[in-house]
């Protein structure tokens, strides 16, 4: 029970701080709204037949943008006050840090999807299917966002102390999350077209999630400890230069 308990404590700690300054939620939420309005203005005239081709792209492109924005900031609190090293030297499972950060990222993404999905339903008639099948839509959104958060959190940790983190994160993150995003795109299109194989797509997406979470958890410790070590080393080098 150590891992889930510690992961929950760390996530709760992040959420407590987030609720005090709304740094992540306000930024991500406002950005989602802007993207949604821009999509609405740009694609409002699309015919209903071609809408199912465009809506999945709008949904997951917005998730990718918001996800990158969130992931560049998800370790900010640890970076700002160097608390990452406090966690690394405390009796804390490193995987618990991964699970907590991925969970908070997922919550932010899901919060944005709470704006995105109703917005798309409101603006595009073809997206009505999402309102008609709320459970399948919810499953799709949760599974798609989980895969993104699972991959993204590992690399956000790896770049947590890099000065060019925003650029590097985008450059590394997009290619690595592409398979997860594409799978989500395909499943979304199947949902909009009421494809009978949608449950199979969702099951495949769930399997991908399990794979990515396990892989992320496995890689995380070496990425995180390597980051802390390089931060220690670069701190030393800076000290020497001074």
């Amino acid at each position: 029970m150590r891992l889930p308990r510690q992961a929950w404590l760390l996530a709760k700690n992040d959420l407590r701080q987030e609720l005090r300054d709304l740094e992540l939620l306000a930024t991500a939420g406002f950005f989602t709204l802007v993207v949604l309005v821009m999509f609405g203005l740009s694609f409002a005239s699309l015919g209903r037949k071609v809408q199912p081709l465009a809506i999945p792209g709008m949904l997951w492109l917005a998730v990718a943008f918001v996800g990158t924005l969130t992931l560049t900031r998800i370790f900010d609190r640890e970076r700002e006050a160097d608390t990452l090293r406090a966690l690394l030297t405390a009796p804390v499972e490193r995987v618990a840090i991964y699970v907590s950060k991925a969970f908070v990222t997922l919550l932010v993404l899901l919060g944005c999807c709470l704006i995105l999905v109703p917005g798309l339903v409101f603006m595009f008639p073809a997206a009505q299917v999402m309102a008609e099948q709320p459970l399948r839509t919810a499953a799709l959104v949760v599974l798609g966002c989980t895969s993104y958060a699972a991959v993204g959190t590992v690399f956000a940790a790896g770049l947590a102390t890099s000065s060019g983190k925003n650029v590097l994160l985008s450059v590394i993150l997009y290619p690595l999350t592409s398979p997860a995003l594409m799978w989500s795109l395909v499943a979304t299109r199947a949902l909009l077209e009421r494809h009978p194989d949608l449950p199979t797509y969702l099951a495949q997406l769930a399997a991908l999630d399990v794979l990515l979470v396990v892989l992320g958890g496995w890689l995380f410790e070496s990425v995180l400890v390597g980051t802390a070590r390089s931060a220690t080393a670069s701190g030393r080098a800076r000290g020497r230069r001074r």
Partner: protein
């Protein structure tokens, strides 16, 4: 009668960053109930040595032993017995002092280790009045004391302190010195790096000099007639100079 286990042993520790050799053949032991001061010029490798001791860095050569056991990796069980306080304090600024302590106490409890309650520790470090204030509003010295409170709440066997007296005013330094003396009496092993002459003399049993990545000398607090010369022996190491107006009060208080 069981033999006391040495909390920290570093044997022949070397560390290179690329082609830069930072530590070379450092041998250091810190016994239970002993406070060892690590002094040296900037860039002499003090922080690197502390980072190796706590497991944030792996040595390039040599062996690290924690609690008498070889520790090529510092595992979770080892981290239960070690506490590390650095000059960056590593506290969450958007949490209160009590919340900061409670978080780490709960994480420790989840790992199966009981931690001291936050309030008595805050009281002991003189922070009870600020327990519910956001740490971001604290002065540097208050953060330093809070970081020490967090370190002590796990009742560690080994405490590593990197420049713990930085930013502390005189009462703060004296309080920290008192706490260290009390913890030493309770059997805590402490390794601290510091540039503060008075503090080093007041709280340490032994001072080792790190020079160019090697151990360059040692001054040990003696007993009997030897005891009086400790200040001079530390000063003779050459890197720490007695500060102006030293009157020995801190040392006397500590020894008392």
């Amino acid at each position: 009668m069981s033999e006391a286990v040495t909390p920290l042993e570093l044997d022949g520790i070397g560390k290179r960053f690329g082609r830069l050799s930072v530590l070379r053949g450092v041998d250091l032991r810190v016994e239970a109930g002993e406070v060892v001061g690590l002094i040296g010029a900037n860039g002499s490798g003090k922080t690197t040595l502390l980072n190796i001791a706590v497991g944030l860095l792996a040595p390039t050569e040599g062996e690290r032993r924690l609690g008498g056991r070889r520790a090529p990796q510092v595992e979770l069980a080892d981290r239960m017995r070690i506490a590390f306080v650095t000059h960056t304090t590593q506290l969450y600024p958007r949490l209160t002092a009590r919340e900061n302590l409670r978080l780490f106490a709960e994480l420790r409890a989840a790992a199966g280790d009981a931690a001291a309650l936050p309030d008595p520790l805050l009281e002991r470090l003189g922070l009870a009045h600020a327990a519910d204030r956001m740490v971001g509003t604290f002065s540097r010295g208050m953060m330093q004391r809070l970081a020490l409170a967090r370190a002590l709440q796990g009742r560690p066997q080994l405490l590593l302190l990197d420049e713990p007296f930085t930013a502390l005013d005189r009462p703060g330094r004296e309080r920290l010195a008192e706490v260290l003396v009390e913890e030493r009496a309770a059997g805590l092993a402490v390794l601290l790096s510091s540039h503060d002459y008075d503090a080093v003399v007041a709280v340490t049993d032994r001072v080792v000099l790190l020079e160019g990545g090697r151990l360059g000398g040692e001054a040990r607090r003696g007993e009997g007639p030897e005891a009086a010369g400790y200040r001079d022996r530390v000063a003779a190491l050459g890197l720490l100079r007695p500060s102006a107006g030293v009157d020995g009060r801190a040392e006397e208080a500590a020894r008392a």
